[in-house]
Symmetry: C2
Subunit: 157 residues, 2 copies
Amino acid sequence: MSIAATLPAAAISLERFIRDTIPLARQIDVHLRAWRDDALVLAAPLAPNVNDKGCAFGGSLASVMTLAGWALVELALRQRGFDCDVFVAHSELRYLAPVWADFEALATLAPEQDWDSFIATLRERGRARIQVHCRVPAVEGDAATLEARFVAKRRDS
Amino acid sequence: MSIAATLPAAAISLERFIRDTIPLARQIDVHLRAWRDDALVLAAPLAPNVNDKGCAFGGSLASVMTLAGWALVELALRQRGFDCDVFVAHSELRYLAPVWADFEALATLAPEQDWDSFIATLRERGRARIQVHCRVPAVEGDAATLEARFVAKRRDS
């Protein structure tokens, strides 16, 4: 994914916010690796995220993918000057192959979703929903995928 | 749920196994509260599982519900003398209400699922799948639900 190697201040600030306010994110040891307006990458090491079989725990994969989607939406809103509560409402996860190494989760807007209509609804109703896709790439194909719906509610409305 | 207050040795042993082999489960601080052959309850305190809004992090709810389902299947297999790798293959989660306190996840077999046919397939093919439902009860209704498919593969086949 072609994203600037140097993270913008907004992304660095969000990474710190995640690690400071969500204890489990710090335990998972997530780092924000890359970001542009419609895509975001979180990375996590395997060691704190192993299961009884020595590969990545399903709960860790679910957490990192959900966080990546949440961070994508949160950052888009912050960049546009919105102060919102963003939360996951629904998600569907596929665990396709075991993950035996450090891993990354790449979140993007789902097809046919765009920030403009999301923001327009948010302005109009104080609340809006958006679909996000996320995947943990493997050597071939994906090791896991998530399709999730996030809801944003304006704090100031 | 009417389950004996004293956990059988198999359940105590599985709780220890989960906390010893899955670092994130220890961080989440899950405890096995109750178990019978077709239902299992895991509990977790809110403190290590909060998000930026002060309620339960979606990744924690996903992890505890997935672990509860996994533990239900793992215990059923251990009780029947099977040595299997059990892993989650697919899950659908609904986040219905924020969780502001310590919480529990109750896992049960999905309707029309039974251990007998699961075990029969496992004996025949060395591999079988089963559907599990899980919910985090709220004061009214559920705060979150999970429908998941787990796969068991015999290690000795």
